[in-house]
Assembly symmetry: C2
């Protein structure tokens, strides 16, 4: 379903209107494999949507995150980064280069990981009475380029 209202259905049930900034932000995130920050999204959109406000970017990102259409990440870089969460994108985690900030998605070991996570969630629920709703696994280190430097 191409066109300006491609994502509209996902909003039904949420109290909100479909607007150009929302379309533009979601569209941008759906097209890139990068993990953009609010400022980067702002810089990108200014070109095709002069006049858009950084405040709106932040508000929209919050909203999109609540609807589950995007995911928010903190990679210890001082600013949050966002990632489109469509069905096309498989479950994955991240390798973060602590030197240059490069982020690599990986979805290897998905089965073993899922197994461990589910087992953990179950037993943690029993032992600590904790209801697991989300998990995060990430590796920090050096990317190929930064290992040379």
């Amino acid at each position: 379903m191409p066109g300006p209202h491609r994502w509209r259905k996902r909003f039904e049930g949420h109290i909100c209107r479909w607007t150009m900034p929302r379309e533009a932000i979601l569209d941008l995130l759906s097209r890139t494999t990068k993990h953009l920050s609010a400022k980067e999204i702002y810089a990108n959109l200014l070109q095709i949507y002069p006049g858009i406000g950084l405040t709106t970017i932040y508000r929209t990102l919050d909203l999109l995150e609540k609807t589950g259409m995007i995911k928010k990440f903190n990679f210890r870089q001082g600013e949050n980064r966002y990632e489109f969460a469509g069905e096309q994108r498989p479950h994955h985690h991240h390798l973060i280069c602590t030197s240059c900030g490069k982020i690599i998605d990986y979805s290897d070991f998905a089965e073993e990981e899922l197994e461990l996570v589910e087992k953990s969630a179950k037993q943690l629920a029993e032992k600590y009475k904790f209801l697991v709703q989300d998990h995060n696994i990430e590796f920090y280190g050096l990317c190929q380029q930064c290992q040379k430097d």
Copy 2:
């Protein structure tokens, strides 16, 4: 080795002097099982060390982290939290309650986790030429109390 210079040896090799604020901060962190923020540490220490500055807290936390004596965590709460990293404390990860912010340490599944992490690190190094130096696993959800509310 009790006394004011208990931790001094760990600093050897690092260009720094052993001072009261450093002793006080490290001592506080070594005594608590909580994950304190800079401001919480500040509030705590003001009682036994009036005149200590928040700036010094931040600087010292950075230093202690670099020496590996403490660990820094971002639990998506807007402020970083710190944890003592002595040998007494086993390798563990965290359950974070998204409602009240409570943090629970757990060290269950250490073997399976270590196995998965090591296997992952090895294969990620091959496939992505990424040198893994650190990893983070955390579960977000609701603690017992917040499940009731």
